[in-house]
């Protein structure tokens, strides 16, 4: 399955064990919530009981009287210098929005005091659904001046095709509009046209470690921020700006992250910093699971209408799609990415993609692993399946005939670079389940396939490494390891330098000491930081060889690094060890510069990643319960730096995709109250809900990533809902268009299909 065989690699490509194993398996790893500092206070939040309310007053006197309560902070108490106050004062705009912070000597005391804070509030009509938001004369999310963070709107709308300025309706904060060809002619040329509308609910990233931050004002005047975040430098800037400090006065300590999945890009750090400065003591805030569900940036609900036409010889003639995202209280949905992907997997000669983002009285939305892609895939892959059926085509052949390849145009302009979509589809086509799907159908099961794509992430990155006194290499990074990337970085460094992976230490520094890197997210860490690591190790290698050349009186070109020594190629007797070189460079009379390698990357071309998944399912006709019997995930990973860890990422993505498809949804009532604010009411898949997952790694090397690697975290989380609903369609003949496909939804769909017959 390897498209091109790279040069012989020693470390890269090996299934090596995780370098952080022992601490994580023995309870020794320190996460943010495990830290305690002298004088530290525990914070608990007082949240708005209403989705939308006028706040007339907050009485904190009873709470302050509780022994052990140090302070109850309101909006006016926070020493904020810039940006929106994290505490609401006169208007609450979502259920659970923080109104006050209780600081106490223990968490239990803080919880007691929260119950004694008296909120005088007058509920107002909330915006809680797409229908309400768009209703003429309907409610607004805020009574105060419509507040739209324009910089943010531009950020999220940066890919949007809407060129001209226009006034948007109330509650609509962004639009997209991509057109190509002649849509009317496209549908006129079609032999068959299918139309469907998919809906998906708001879901949560569901990281097991809650959002957690500890901020300590230091006696020297700066702030130490210990936090579980995917973006240490983002946090540094945000905290500094909010408090009116220099970035250098804020030192962010990047702590291990107990799951992020896009949800940890700086949520509460500024608020905790404001509280800590207000009382001049260390403050720890770890959200409760309920607070996390209520206030921590979930992925928005959405509705996508798709109309697709094709000819009897199997070509797509036209795509029309309209997307609506129901974001939280500020512009924050992945509308642009979803629009690009709806129109990106296949060749659509005629195309019209429109979309809008609506804001509502829900918490601000956040990124969740491949934001926008799940919904886009569900919509387009359902329509492709239906069109293939209508045309009497095999859904695999139909996809292969129309799928995008290098050079095909994307909706937002520009062509796809080298991508492995076709190769990945072919890998699934050859799988026995696909080959034997007729026999599988005889058993009453169904087989479905689906494509998931991700444009790939980009952000510059740097890395610095030094040769240590023991002859090992320490690589210093500014980006956090979420699920094993540091092990891959060690492999890349070992490969580039020519040493064993065990002889590489990876050290993620603080925002004051680490080389700068972008955030960990969007499937870009291995692709971008990995490239910087490779260059830093190569730079160190060059310096090492120069020192050795001097010592061995040989040309650097004639030297090689093997078994911890630099030696003349083929002459092991003429050698000097890395340890000797290090010692020499660190001694007063050595006269040799210490080895310090630097690497940077500012790659401007992303490496898009594609996954094609296949599921065999059955549906219980009485209960509507869907069972996944077998699951196959193929993915173009460029080159797997560590296949075991790549497979782990795929396992995780598939599990989350199954969550999207069958289990997860955040339900709000008409008053905007969250009804699923616990892990009992919100169903994260358990062990027994995840089937065996067979993995096929396709390797179409990227042009710029280290050793051809591509980002691999996002794509496996994308196709799940498309694959499973397509498999349900195959098994039952019923097209379900709403996810999650809870048993009651499935049972009702089966009933109405039976009634229609």
């Amino acid at each position: 399955m390897v498209a091109t065989e790279p040069r012989e690699l020693r470390s890269v490509g090996q299934r090596l064990k995780r370098i952080d194993s022992p601490k994580k398996l023995t309870g020794q790893e320190r996460f943010t919530g495990d830290l305690r500092l002298p004088g530290m206070l525990y914070a608990r939040l007082v949240g708005s009981p209403y989705a939308h309310a006028r706040i007339n007053g907050i009485d904190t006197s009873a709470a302050l009287a509780v022994p052990g309560v140090a302070a109850v902070l309101l909006a006016a108490d926070l020493p904020i210098r810039e940006g929106e106050n994290p505490l609401a004062s006169d208007e609450a705009i979502y259920n659970g929005q923080p109104l006050a912070i209780v600081l106490a000597e223990s968490e239990a005391i803080a919880e007691d005091a929260v119950l004694l804070v008296d909120i005088d509030a007058e509920p107002l009509d909330p915006v809680t659904s797409i229908e309400e938001a768009l209703r003429e004369g309907g409610p607004q999310t805020r009574f105060s001046a419509a507040h739209v963070d324009e910089a943010e709107a531009r950020l999220h709308n940066s890919d949007a095709g809407a060129a001209e300025e226009k006034v948007l309706p109330a509650n609509v904060t962004n639009t997209v509009d991509y057109r190509r060809g002649d849509i009317a002619k496209g549908f006129a040329d079609a032999d068959q046209v299918v139309e469907l509308t998919i809906t998906s609910e708001q879901v949560h990233q569901g990281y097991i470690e809650p959002q957690v931050t500890l901020v300590a004002p230091s006696p020297l005047g700066k702030l130490d921020v210990y936090t579980s975040t995917q973006g240490m430098f983002v946090v540094q800037n945000k905290v500094a700006q909010t408090l009116g400090l220099q970035a250098s006065e804020v030192e962010v300590h990047q702590m291990p992250v107990g799951g992020g999945f896009g949800g940890k890009f700086g949520l509460n750090e500024a608020m905790v910093a404001l509280a800590a400065v207000a009382v001049n003591r260390p403050v720890l805030l770890q959200l409760t699971r309920m607070e996390d569900f209520l206030s921590a940036n979930p992925a928005p609900a959405c509705e996508i209408r798709v109309k697709l036409g094709g000819t009897s010889d199997g070509f797509i003639t036209a795509l029309q799609a309209d997307l609506t995202f129901l974001a939280g209280i500020a512009p924050s949905s992945p509308l642009g990415i979803a629009a690009i992907l709806v129109g990106g997997y296949y060749r659509f000669p005629n195309m019209e993609i429109t979309g809008q983002e609506i804001i509502s009285n829900r918490p601000k939305s956040g990124a969740y692993r491949a934001p926008g892609a799940q919904q886009a895939s569900l919509a387009i892959e359902a329509a492709i399946d239906e069109l293939a059926r209508a045309l009497g085509k095999d859904p695999m052949d139909f996809r292969l005939q129309n799928c995008a390849v290098e050079g095909d145009e994307r909706p937002n302009g520009g062509a796809w670079p080298r991508i492995g979509l076709k190769e990945t589809l072919e890998a699934i086509r050859e799988h026995p389940i696909w080959q034997e799907r007729e026999a599988i159908r005889q058993r009453g099961h169904g087989v479905g396939i689906g494509v998931g794509g991700w444009p790939g992430g980009l952000e510059p990155a740097t890395a610095v490494c030094r040769l240590d006194a023991d002859g090992k290499l320490t690589m210093m990074l500014g980006s956090v390891d979420l699920n094993g990337s540091n092990t891959g970085m060690a492999q890349i460094a070992a490969e580039a330098l020519g040493i064993e992976t065990d002889d590489v230490n990876i050290n993620v520094g603080t925002s004051s000491s680490a080389p700068w890197s972008g955030s960990t997210g969007g499937s870009k860490i291995t692709y971008t930081v990995g490239a910087a690591v490779q260059r830093a190790a190569e730079d160190a290698r060059k310096q090492i060889l120069e020192i050795a050349a001097q010592r061995l009186e040989a040309s650097a070109d004639d030297l090689e690094i093997a078994d911890g020594n630099v030696q003349v190629k083929g002459v092991p007797s003429s050698s000097i060890s890395l340890k000797q070189i290090a010692e020499l460079s660190m001694s007063g009379d050595g006269g040799v510069d210490p080895v310090l390698g630097r690497g940077a990357s500012a790659i401007t071309q992303a490496a898009p990643g594609f996954a094609v998944h296949m599921a065999e399912v059955s549906v219980d006709e009485l209960t509507g319960e869907t069972t996944i019997h077998r699951y196959v995930a193929a993915q173009d990973v460029g080159l797997a730096i560590n296949p075991a860890l790549v497979e782990d990422q795929i396992h995780g993505g598939v599990g989350q995709g199954i969550g999207w498809a069958l289990y997860e949804g955040m339900a709000y009532d008409d008053a905007g109250q969250l009804m699923t604010a616990s892990l009992m009411d919100y169903a994260i898949p358990k062990a027994e809900m995840i089937p065996n997952i067979e993995i096929i790694l396709v390797q179409v090397p990227s042009e710029h990533g280290p050793y051809g690697a591509k980002g691999i975290g996002e794509p496996p989380a994308v196709p799940g809902a498309a694959v499973i609903t397509n498999a349900i369609r195959d098994a039952t003949g019923v097209r379900v268009t709403h996810i999650p496909v809870r048993p009651e939804i499935m049972a009702r769909a089966l009933d109405s299909a039976a009634a229609a017959d």
Partner: protein, 167 residues
């Protein structure tokens, strides 16, 4: 009014502790705050996720649903007390070999659930293993490898026991 505290004598990982705890305090908070054993994680605090799993008298329990006062006179074991002084427990060893964790946050709870199973059963079935961890959520997607690690851990444990008998 200062909260009333009750004396509790509890053995944790083999050491006796005499504590004064508020009757409402959970075993989880007592382990983390009073004994500073932070390997046991607080996630949902209501018995939905399993990250706080510890052993009380050899049985796996959610320490967030157990009051500290209930453990008076009992033996508690946490993730910090699993590994022998000179290495790793077979479950921990199996987690490395089967790559059964990613971010590592749910991992202590998963290990404690499997350890409790293997303490009572040297040769569990696949169903036994799945049932043992059915109350432990993992969001990174390590489930299939956790089940494989459970099987390997049972094998490693039997092998260790047999080699001890042989000696």
């Amino acid at each position: 009014m200062a909260p009333q505290r009750m004396p509790v004598t509890v053995t944790v990982n083999g050491s006796d502790h005499h504590l004064l705890v508020e009757p409402r305090h959970t075993l989880l908070d007592t382990l983390r705050e009073d004994l500073r054993l932070t390997g046991t994680k607080k996630v949902c605090d209501m018995g939905n996720c399993g990250a706080c799993t510890v052993h009380v008298d050899g049985l796996a329990v959610y320490s967030c649903l157990t009051l500290a006062v209930e453990t008076d006179g009992h033996e508690v074991r946490t993730i910090e007390g699993v590994a022998p002084p000179d290495g790793l427990d077979p479950v921990q060893e199996a987690f490395i070999r089967m790559d059964a964790f990613q971010c590592g946050f749910c991992t202590p709870g998963q290990i404690m659930s499997l350890r409790a199973l293997l303490d009572g059963n040297d040769d569990p079935t696949d169903d036994d293993i799945q049932t043992a961890v059915s109350g432990n959520l993992c969001r990174c997607g390590a489930y299939r490898n956790i089940l494989r690690a459970g099987r390997l851990a049972a094998d490693l444990q039997r092998a260790r026991r047999e080699s001890e008998v042989a000696r």
